[in-house]
Symmetry: C2
Subunit: 114 residues, 2 copies
């Protein structure tokens, strides 16, 4: 059992109760953590902000390299991670690849934070 609430002053002799089961399963924790990992890089967050706020709803990858200020392989790497996390989708049109955000995915993750 978890010890009583002793916030004020007293200190119980009894502590460290028996283990309860964890609300978040190991599998769910792994999945959630993988999404947060995709969001844990400032370059990816800025890419996401550009893509999400695009007036046309989508952005050509060629328009993402210059403002980010990183090399083209690096930007491509980050876009791949965002894509695999389900945060953006993409489509190849001719030589170019267009990216757009998946807001329902982001709000789904957000709701998991209560």
């Amino acid at each position: 059992m978890t010890p009583k609430n002793l916030k004020a002053k007293a200190v119980s002799k009894v502590c460290c109760g028996t283990a309860r089961d964890i609300p978040l399963s190991e599998r769910d924790a792994d999945e959630l953590a993988s999404v947060f990992t995709a969001l844990s890089d400032p370059v990816r967050l800025r890419l996401l902000s550009i893509i999400s706020s695009a007036p046309e709803g989508e952005v050509c990858a060629c328009d993402l390299v210059a403002p980010i200020g990183k090399s083209q392989p690096t930007v491509s790497h980050h876009l791949k991670i965002l894509f695999e996390a389900g945060l953006v989708d993409r489509e190849k049109r001719g030589v170019w690849v267009w990216y757009w955000a998946l807001p329902e995915r982001m709000s789904a993750v957000a709701s998991r934070l209560r």
Copy 2:
């Protein structure tokens, strides 16, 4: 300027417009990314789920080691990261340290995902 929407079929000759400014500043991106980094580990997410769902609103650190299944130093390390990210607060009472969640912080982060 960003090229026209050519989703259907045609492919424009013109692409790769001039750089717009990024909605998310570099400073804000760093700050946000640091919080997501704190959330990017399954052990920390499970710790947070235990702490957040505690009936008394708080949990003794001594009750966190066993269910997580990691060593005491490892759990202490993760709790420190959650604390420094502003996701939990803590108070020492006697020998024990009690942790509780800061839901307003989590919802603040969640709202940043739209």
